[in-house]
């Protein structure tokens, strides 16, 4: 257990990433890599990519651009959409009625993904899983966290959601109905958490900051942190 759920993207905001050059030769191989010797699968993946580049099917630059979109755009969009829904009741209604249409109207293209937004209420708490693989609204949340793709989450979230939520530090009384969504076909899901008290008058940017990825999958709820001085953050 930890005081505040670890959020892989918590310290990253668009525009605050390291500087990198955009003047790549589209055919130059990507040379960045991790520490230590590569695994068999890293070698396999790189080899497949290089073969496809050599055959003119893809370019290194296209792969690089796709990586950038996944890191710098996708992860932040879901929070923006839900923060907007919190402040605009008409948008909120449209988001719940037709997720993809509402998100498009908001200026975000979800590519091939179809979105269903599900709202938490005082009576109902929603949580998302994909038992069969790792379906996830990547164009709104970026890549799924390791726990979402894990055997243990996929196996247990459907039959003991409350126990799983407890492992994330989320305790729900029996009076709250837990609604699990197994994202098993063409739809993708995002949870609209309840807006916590203490956020009155906040800007959408500030609201988006408490809409962490974990709250949008439904394993935690948004928290308003109090700073030591006593005023809300």
């Amino acid at each position: 257990m930890h005081d505040y759920p670890y959020d892989f993207y918590a310290n990253r905001r668009p525009g605050h990433h390291h500087d990198h050059q955009h003047d790549h030769d589209p055919h130059a191989p990507i040379v960045e890599r991790d520490e230590g010797p590569p695994s068999e699968y890293e070698v396999m993946s790189r080899a497949m990519q290089e073969l496809l580049e050599a055959k003119g099917i893809i370019t290194a630059d296209e792969v690089r651009q796709r990586m950038e979109i996944f890191e710098e755009e996708f992860p932040y969009r879901g929070a923006k959409v839900v923060a907007h829904a919190w402040t605009d009741p008409h948008f909120r209604r449209r988001l719940l009625a037709d997720g993809k249409a509402a998100v498009a109207e908001f200026g975000i293209g979800m590519e091939a993904e179809r979105l269903i937004a599900v709202e938490n209420t005082p009576e109902v708490h929603n949580v998302i899983v994909c038992t069969l693989c790792s379906c996830y609204p990547r164009s709104l949340l970026g890549m799924p966290p390791t726990w979402y793709k894990s055997t243990n989450y996929r196996a247990r979230a459907v039959f003991e959601p409350r126990a799983v939520l407890r492992e994330f530090g989320t305790e729900l009384p029996e009076s709250v109905t837990v609604r699990v969504h197994d994202s098993n076909a063409d739809m993708r899901y995002i949870v609209m958490p309840m807006r916590p008290a203490g956020t009155e008058g906040w800007s959408e940017d500030r609201l988006a900051e408490i809409l962490t990825r974990d709250t949008l999958v439904g394993v935690t709820v948004p928290r308003v942190r109090q700073d030591p001085g006593g005023s809300p953050e």
């Binding site: 993946s45 893809i58 792969v63 038992t131 390791t146 726990w147």
Partner: protein
């Protein structure tokens, strides 16, 4: 692989016994992010389909549970690309040897089946 009333496919794990969830997001290594971008790009170009990648992973049978997430997805992509004749096994093996040499690796590879705390 047939599933019956008392058998299920390798990926069909909803409701099966499992341990505690490691709730920390361990993120992705650089190569995993690149592998994800590659798959995503190929999907957008209509060269591979998500359904075919899923099927190839499911057909791994026993290996499914032994491989970590990106090992599975990389293997599935390999299967699809070879099936479609976009690459051949022999040219892939040759290219892998070239990639390994570039990283100054010994010719005997460690086992691809690695112990992971969490799949």
């Amino acid at each position: 692989m047939a599933s019956t009333h008392d058998e299920r496919g390798a990926a069909d794990i909803g409701g099966t016994p499992a341990g505690p969830v490691d709730t920390v997001d361990h993120g992705m290594k650089f190569w995993e992010r690149q592998a994800n971008a590659l798959r995503s790009l190929l999907g957008r170009k209509g060269i591979t389909r998500t359904d075919e990648l899923r099927r190839a992973a499911e057909d791994l049978g026993e290996r499914y549970a032994q491989l970590a997430y990106f090992e599975r997805t990389t293997t599935a992509l390999r299967i699809n690309l070879v099936e479609k004749g976009l690459i051949t096994e022999s040219e892939l093996i040759a290219k892998m040897a070239e990639v390994r040499a570039r990283f100054d690796m010994p010719s005997e590879m460690e086992s691809p089946i690695e112990q992971r705390g969490q799949r």
